[in-house]
Amino acid sequence: MITVTPETFELVQFDAAEIAALAADVAKAVGLADDVTIAIAIDETAIIGKASSRVEDDGRIVLDVTGGAFESLRKARTFDENRAKAVLGQALMRARDRIDPDFGNPPADDALSVPEETAWATSIEGRLDRLGILVGRPQRRIYHFRVRHGFNDTVDRIFDRLWTTDSITWAEIAASSSEAVLA
């Protein structure tokens, strides 16, 4: 079951049912079980795009998302389906990784360092790209990765490794990020 709060929006032109339907599609595509409960809380007052996810003890997945994360970059306060899909893809794939016992035990979203978060996002975006959930944007993603890790060939090779690997653990992601920072 997927819930979206608030049910109606006053400051942005979003539709809770549309977001829930999109989240259902993305959840299925990333491999989350049909019976998983997902609660999406949207702060419609927040302009800066930000999203985090966590898995509660009862298995419920909770997403905290700012309105700015789902907002069109071209027209303020309007919904952008592709951006929303990308944000939901990242948050739900992160949750799926957390549920997977083989993935390891990453820190909570708000405890991730910026380079670690970017490295994990790189791995996820590569996987989302191959799943056909996102139209690949590797140049944007590699720019993000370079800003956090540096602009050199070693960093680019580590980026490629993270982008192209389907089966990866948190330890490998964290080690890759550390290696890139030192490169």
Partner: protein
């Protein structure tokens, strides 16, 4: 060819989407943040900040749109005025300076396109705000040069210097060098504005005063609610040294710092509900 082309008639293809400055300024979410006490000042551009890369992409796209409008504005100034000494006329040498500026702006557009590609940004991915061109529609060439060359190209100096530092801090040589080269041109554009302001108003203090007041309004409006200021923690810091090179006096730079601080305080007051 038409003189004084209104902003609505600028040529854009369907990749581009225009936003209105007043819509951003009056975004109701700012008021809602005020009520909740959640308003936060924008982050400084630094690799350590979580949204820095996205902020840099957005700013770079804004620079690209600004370069197009600067090209359009300088081009219009070459065309809109007959040669002469009147307030609705321009000296030939001023038009020649604007023609040279067009050449620079064309190059800046091309550099900005490449930088956007480098950062993974599609042209038109972010909206376009036409404030620069609107300042270039003033019927008095002195007002145009103070509003555009001194105020907005002055803002460009601050922005390019910020982006250059961002590139330097990230170790991004492409960004650092491109911004440095464009910055050097902007300094000359601002200096053109300063030189022509002094020259054309040498015997007309009232016209000079009007022009400086117009510049003050533009400077305050486009301090972007404190986004640009003289403070270290500001996302876009006032580039004092480059402004000196561009012909600003220390007093004039202090005045812009004051105007920027006023704009920041007004934004914070609005956010605090004062």
């Amino acid at each position: 060819m038409k003189k004084m082309l209104p902003v609505e008639e600028l040529a854009r293809d369907d990749r581009f989407f225009r936003s209105r400055f007043e819509d951003n300024f009056n975004d109701p979410r700012i008021g809602a943040q005020r009520q909740q006490g959640t308003f936060t000042k924008p982050e400084k551009f630094s690799p350590e900040e979580r949204n820095a890369a996205e902020g840099a992409r957005s700013l770079m796209h804004g620079i690209f749109m600004g370069e197009i409008q600067a090209l359009e504005g300088a081009g219009r100034t070459c065309w809109d005025f007959n040669v002469g000494p009147g307030e609705d006329e321009a000296p030939f040498a001023l038009k020649l300076d604007m023609a040279r500026q067009c050449w620079d702006e064309s190059r800046h557009v091309e550099i900005s396109v490449k930088l956007n590609e480098w950062m993974g940004t599609d042209l038109g991915e972010f909206n376009e705000n036409t404030f620069l061109y609107e300042a270039a529609c003033n019927p008095d060439p002195v007002m145009r040069l103070t509003g555009v060359n001194r105020a907005l190209e002055g803002l460009a100096i601050d922005v390019f210097n910020t982006m250059k530092s961002f590139g330097e801090n990230c170790g991004d040589p492409v960004m650092e060098f491109c911004e440095d080269w464009m910055l050097a041109d902007e300094v000359t554009h601002v200096k053109m504005g300063s030189d022509w302001l002094r020259k054309l108003t040498e015997t007309n203090p009232e016209r000079r005063q009007r022009a400086l007041e117009f510049q003050r309004v533009v400077d305050k409006l486009f301090s972007l609610g404190g986004l640009r200021s003289d403070k270290d923690e500001s996302p876009v810091k006032l580039a004092r040294r480059f402004r000196e090179l561009a012909g600003f006096t220390k007093e004039e730079i202090d005045d812009i710092a004051d105007v920027s601080a006023e704009a920041a305080n007004e934004t914070l007051s609005r956010a605090a509900g004062a």
